[in-house]
């Protein structure tokens, strides 16, 4: 299988789907770039290069650079989705949700329910998230717990190039509003990605590694850090299952509960803030539905309850790392109920 970057995998997914279905359009700030200017067109292809080449392939009617008016263009994407298009809107950083959240959570997410099941809103919102780029408090948040909280939204967090492509194709073909979140630090990671189109279904967790002692559940880039920790732990004789739920809504409860029951010891790793976060969410599901099998406290490894700091050393301390994960797994492994 050919090896490609996460960025390229996403780009291929967009090319495939736009080629396949004329109702798919993309819109966002500088998703092409260079509009109205003297130099190169498609100069950026998105702030992170994910939409590069779409302008040339599909033209300006379907590839639209927008004004800095997130409410208007995200809402327009919702309105277009409800009337026959399949728009893929991009907000460069998920941190910008604050200027357009109403159109996402009160409009797109609720149409179907409010209208008694009569609306279909195939709306995809792509955004980057995550700390580690020294971009400070307003350009580094995770925020997917907020989307996960909202009924009517689906939330996707691919961790590998393979999943990125398959999940994005699924997102575009999906008939519900999907929030699709890309960790900036993953764009240059590589992996095997088929050339053709394929889907990775929502609500099916990926089991990356199976073990007997501790179950580690991690989201997005944290999956890789969890695998690193699991590798270290294996050398110490602690064998871990590592699970990547891939979508937080729907969440593959069955796989999570089964793995939790098998080991009885669970660590959840999440780069979002802790309060009402993903780790809390998954922990509470396990504490309610797999309690009988639990042999240890459910440990959460998350960012602290602080904004994201700028200084590199502080930011590094902010993001969960393999050491903290391994420590939590060791604590889970060695815990004995007194």
């Amino acid at each position: 299988m050919p090896t490609k970057s996460y960025r390229q995998a996403l780009n291929e997914a967009l090319h495939h789907e736009m080629g396949r279905d004329p109702r798919v359009i993309v819109l966002g700030e500088d998703i092409a770039g260079g509009a109205g200017a003297s130099g190169q067109k498609d100069a950026w292809g998105g702030a992170f290069g994910v939409t590069k080449g779409l302008l040339g392939a599909f033209g300006p009617t379907r590839v639209r650079d927008t004004p800095i008016s997130e409410s208007a263009f995200v809402g327009a994407a919702a309105g277009a989705a409800a009337t026959g298009l399949r728009p893929v809107a991009e907000i460069m950083f998920v941190d910008f949700l604050g200027v357009c959240f109403d159109q996402i959570f009160n409009q797109a997410a609720k149409f179907r329910y409010m209208f008694g099941g009569k609306a279909v809103t195939p709306f995809v919102l792509r955004a980057t998230f995550g700390a580690g780029t020294r971009s400070a408090s307003q350009h580094s948040q995770a925020l997917y717990p907020i989307f996960t909280h909202i009924p009517g939204l689906k939330v996707v967090i691919p961790s590998t190039p393979y999943d990125a492509k398959g999940l994005l194709i699924q997102a575009i073909r999906d008939d519900d509003p999907v929030i699709f979140l890309e960790n900036k630090l993953l764009y240059d990671t590589v992996g095997e990605v088929p050339d053709g189109a394929y889907v990775v279904p929502f609500g099916e967790a990926n089991i990356l590694r199976e073990g007997d002692d501790v179950t580690i559940i991690a989201f997005g880039r944290m999956v890789h850090i969890a695998m690193e920790a699991a590798g270290q732990l294996a050398k110490e004789g602690i064998s871990c299952t590592v699970i990547d739920p891939r979508t937080t809504s729907p969440l593959d409860e069955d796989t999570i509960l089964e793995a939790a029951e098998e080991t009885g010891r669970v660590v959840i790793v999440d780069e979002a803030n802790p309060r009402c976060g993903m780790a809390a969410d998954v922990s509470s599901i396990i504490a309610e539905k797999a309690f009988g099998a639990l042999k240890a406290p459910i440990f959460k490894v998350t960012a602290p309850h602080t904004p994201v700091p700028y200084a590199p050393n502080l930011e590094a301390a902010y993001i969960p790392d393999a050491k903290r994960i391994a420590d939590a797994a060791r604590a889970a492994f060695t815990y004995r109920k007194s």
């Binding site: 004329p22 109702r23 359009i25 009617t61 379907r62 639209r64 927008t66 004004p67 008016s69 409410s71 208007a72 263009f73 995200v74 809402g75 327009a76 994407a77 919702a78 309105g79 277009a80 989705a81 409800a82 009337t83 026959g84 298009l85 728009p87 109403d102 159109q103 009160n106 409009q107 149409f111 179907r112 329910y113 409010m114 209208f115 008694g116 099941g117 009569k118 609306a119 279909v120 009924p151 009517g152 689906k154 999906d174 008939d175 519900d176 609500g203 729907p250």
Partner: protein, 325 residues
Amino acid sequence: MTGMQLSRDELLRAYRTMRIIRVFEDRVSAEMASGDIPGNTHLYAGQEASAVGVCFHLTEDDKIASTHRGHGHCIAKGCDVDGMMAEIFGKDTGICRGKGGSMHIADLSKGMLGANGIVGGGPPLACGAALTAQVLNRDDVAVCFSGDGAINQGTTAESMNLAQIWKLPVIFAVEDNGFGEATAKSFVVAGEITKRAEALGMASAHVDGVDFFAVHDAAQEAVARARRGEGPTLLHIETPRYYGHFSGDPDNYRTPEEKSAMRRERDCLAVFRSRVTQAKLLDDADLDRVDAEVQQLIDSAVKAARAAPQPGLETLTTDVYVRYV
């Protein structure tokens, strides 16, 4: 063709639709007061000529986005009146199966994208509907109804700019009833509303929303402009608001004199009647017949709504997604 040149059938249709809205709203107000309707609602009475004058030019393929004060827009766009009444009563036969209520009446099959509980929620959605038409190369247009208060919501400004630079086939129908809730427009809206369009190079018109024909003519031009691919128009439509902001509002921030003068002097139905009878386009008997018919229609809608079953409890958790797991 200007409004005064409409055919007899067209005139009757326009009057009938306005009349349905008026009677619908008066009846909802009464049912609300007697406690038979849950929640509360924002009544459109007094503003009928706006919805009907604008929607007169629309087909089922055209789309409208509406507001919390949406009943009139829904009726003008062809939503089923029985279904609407049942919805407001919270019944299973409601147009949204009782899940949406007054503030979320919608029927996408009629091009009605929903009333909206969020002030300024509609403008981006209308742009989206217009975008669909533009991308698919169809000549549908979208109308965004909103209030004078909504003009100050950021989404409105963003959407107007977006529509203008993309030359979207969208009409911003700003229904200026002089109030946002209990606050007068003059207290919160700086400048003239049409100037906000002019500043963007957008076409605009200021019309008397009590005069169906004035609205009709201005909307005709706006819709035609949009269909020709020449972009958006803002219509500033001045109307009275007969009731308080919501059904339980004591409306004591307007003097009784002001309110009775408004109902006396600014009644779009009365104005329509006198215009068409004076011009001998229709006679009083024609219009009286419509009035009687409409009364029956609403009576029967209420009766049916009252008799209809509540939604089944299993529907609490359906319709959140097309498909979840």
